[in-house]
């Protein structure tokens, strides 16, 4: 085992990268372990509400953060954490690849994984008409009929992006009003290709053995239970990543979100958390909030290190 880090950050999205930027400027030796560099925001085709950037792709915004963190001296590795163990005053972080690192503090910024519908046909037709990424796959549906499932910014924004290619885009939402920002809802309303189907859930994804041909609805649309489609994009939110935290005993809420206080402290001294993985994301799960969390978590780690005699 090599050097002991001052801080290991788990997650390379906006929360983790901001924690790293601040940590580096606090002169803390920090390591970032992440699966997706730039985080979930890299899936967003267009971001128009991050201060300082009138319009930028999620991917570019994420990459700028990665580059900045690297430039300040952080080591950023593509690794998935298997578990964290307490080792006297230190923490041992073990990766799925079999690597082991030692650190004095940890910031958990592992974000979320895309939530699945968990209906028949969803897994079978993944990549064959079922997708979780409009910025990746919208262009495959040129002149086709598709549906976005969900009512959030990702769903409505995704619908607007997909409408650039598709002939028709349905937004299928379980509630009676879209919860996306009015700015996105206005863009969708103004687009004649986009139609919203409210108070409806998809109960099955139908295919012909090769690709998606439609979906089954729990509430008939124009009298029919089956809606013929060429593609389905699922945007129903995220599940907090965090099985790797179970052995450490980090307290989570009933939805698996890591509990944090205003200082981004968890129930374990020396362990902090930031971003979509935390209970703070219930207030708002946005990049700007994740970044703020990351900065505060780094400050808390810095203060902890100053006071603790190792």
């Amino acid at each position: 085992m090599s050097d002991i880090y001052d801080l290991i950050i788990i997650g390379a999205g906006p929360a983790g990268l901001t924690a790293s930027i601040y940590a580096s400027r606090y002169k803390l030796k920090n390591l970032v372990l992440g699966k997706i560099f730039g985080g979930t925001i890299t899936l967003a085709h267009k971001v128009e509400n991050y201060p300082g950037f009138e319009e930028i792709s999620g991917f570019e915004l994420g990459q700028k953060m990665v580059n900045q963190a690297r430039k300040l001296g952080a080591e950023i590795l593509q690794e998935e954490v298997e578990k964290i163990e307490k080792d006297n005053n230190l923490f041992k972080v073990l990766t799925i690849g079999g690597k082991e690192f030692q650190t004095k503090t940890v910031v958990i910024a592992a974000g979320t994984q895309r939530r699945k519908l968990e209906v028949p046909g969803e897994e079978e037709y993944l990549g064959k008409g079922v997708s979780y990424c409009t910025s990746c796959d919208a262009p495959f549906y040129k002149d086709k009929i598709v549906a976005l499932i969900g009512g959030s910014n990702a769903a409505v924004g995704g619908a607007v992006h997909t409408a650039e290619f598709a002939k028709k885009v349905f937004i299928i939402y379980r509630k009676n009003e879209l919860r996306a920002d009015p700015a996105w809802v206005a863009q969708a309303s103004a687009n004649p290709k986009i139609e919203v189907i409210y108070n409806t859930n998809v109960t099955e994804i139908l295919g012909d053995g090769t690709r998606v041909v439609g979906v089954k609805l729990d509430n008939p649309y124009q009298g029919k239970e089956i809606l013929p489609l060429d593609g389905v994009f699922v945007e129903i939110g995220g599940i907090p990543a965090g099985e790797f935290l179970n052995s450490l005993g980090v307290e989570k809420d009933e939805n698996g979100l890591v509990k944090v206080n205003q200082n981004m402290e968890t129930n374990i001294p020396g362990v902090f958390a930031a971003g979509d993985v935390t209970t703070h994301s219930l207030v708002m799960s946005q990049v700007i909030v994740a970044c703020a969390d990351g900065a505060i978590a780094a400050q808390s780690a810095y203060k902890y290190l100053k006071n603790f005699k190792f």
């Binding site: 890299t42 899936l43 991917f59 990549g127 997708s131 979780y132 990746c136 796959d137 495959f140």
Partner: protein, 103 residues
């Protein structure tokens, strides 16, 4: 890394003696760009056992249609000219290696 199109897919992939891992990608797709460096690293690790190539779906529309590519990135492992395994979406190097039996 070799980037194929419709003209050379058959020769380089279907007629290859070694198994071939094909990374179907698109220029516009962010996770594809993230997968890029991972594929490069992976290619070095399995060199000699598995050939690794990339296909830009825009440059290979017929091949993409033949293999029903509706999502990028899609990784397909070919053995003896036949599709042996398919992985859809971004994944880590370890996840990909798990799916490739060591020959």
């Amino acid at each position: 890394m070799l980037i194929l199109d419709d003209s050379n897919f058959e020769t380089e992939v279907l007629k290859s003696d070694l198994p071939v891992l094909v990374d179907f990608f698109a220029q516009w797709c962010p996770p594809c760009q993230m997968l890029g460096p991972i594929i490069e690293e992976l290619a070095k690790e399995i060199e000699g056992k598995v050939k690794v190539v990339k296909v830009d779906v825009d440059q290979a529309p017929q091949t993409s249609q033949k293999y029903n590519i509706l999502s990028v990135p899609t990784l397909i492992l070919f053995k003896g000219g036949q599709e042996s395994k398919r992985m859809v979406g971004f994944r880590s190097k370890q996840d990909i290696l798990k799916e490739i039996p060591n020959s």
